[in-house]
Point group: C2
Chain length 146, copies 2
DNA sequence: CTAAATCGTAATAAACGAAGTTACATGAAG
DNA sequence: CTTCATGTAACTTCGTTTATTACGATTTAG
């Protein structure tokens, strides 16, 4: 299955924006992330709808973070993206008439539900501020080495 | 979204085979599961390679369970299927040169690794025997109602 | 007012992977 | 030898994600 990488993408974009503190255009973000400006606008548009970033049109337009880095978590971003399906594995048939399938689905669904709960919980504990701090640690270590 | 449903499929097939105790042909299994005999053979072939079932050709050929129902877990089946990717969400770029992306990937990978560990752990605790017992409970309840 | 820059969005194509299908070879039973 | 069933390769179909093209709408500068 083709994996949805939008969460990874928007995180990358947001951290760049957090570093840079200035407006960034979708073209700049696209070049930086090796993708297309339209893809950036489409994805960032979902974050704007959730109030996490703002966009402005015209010359001197672009994108800016609109939320508190301490408050925004990976889970907020996941939700802003429409809570895409997490698992690439699933039941063959969601509405089974067959009792065998019901027993199978019950077992699988329980396990998946628990794993999903754990993942979302982990997401909820990571803020953009923490990620930014992590980046700065790596950056300092990187400069120290060279 | 197109999800890998082979685990669900083989479970269904195995429980049917456990009930029926006799050889079943890929054609029978395919009819029962609303799919194609070749798909059944392809998928069950992986289980055969793992020693979980046996297959016989020719007239009076077919498929049979070759393992102890008490010992085979969902995790064994997942492994027999080649440990397919579990998540439909992932990093944009697995080998990033950029430090921002490294920070993002580290955070996401950690969360996904924990969720995967939990899921596989849950899988390891469910044996075919337990599923079969669960089915029989449902079946008894079903007959009681009608 | 005009021109340039930028977002907003629809429509379409490309890329990819899972499942389904066709076709035929291989081997076992009678 | 004939029949039945598996083994497998090749191809098609389908759904999803990402990329691309195209153009309209809005804002700023001069
Ligand atoms: S690509 Fe992450 S540094 Fe710009
Ligand atoms: S489809 Fe045969 S009962 Fe599950």
């Amino acid at each position: 299955m083709k994996r949805d990488s939008r969460l990874s993408s928007v995180l990358h974009a947001l951290l760049h924006m957090a570093e840079q503190k200035e407006l960034m255009t979708s073209e700049q973000l696209a070049i930086c992330m090796c993708t297309n400006p339209v893809v950036v606008r489409r994805t960032m548009g979902l974050l704007r709808d959730a109030g996490l970033v703002t966009s402005a049109r015209g010359p001197s337009g672009g994108w800016m973070i609109a939320a508190d880095l301490e408050k925004v978590t990976l889970r907020d971003l996941h939700e802003a993206l429409g809570e895409p399906a997490i698992f690439a594995i699933g039941n063959r048939n969601e509405s089974p008439g067959c009792l065998v399938e019901q027993a199978v689905n019950a077992a699988l669904d329980g396990a998946f539900a628990d794993a999903e709960a754990l993942l979302l919980d982990r997401f909820a504990k990571v803020t953009l501020a923490k990620l930014s701090a992590d980046f700065n640690r790596r950056h300092a270590a990187h400069r120290a080495r060279s």
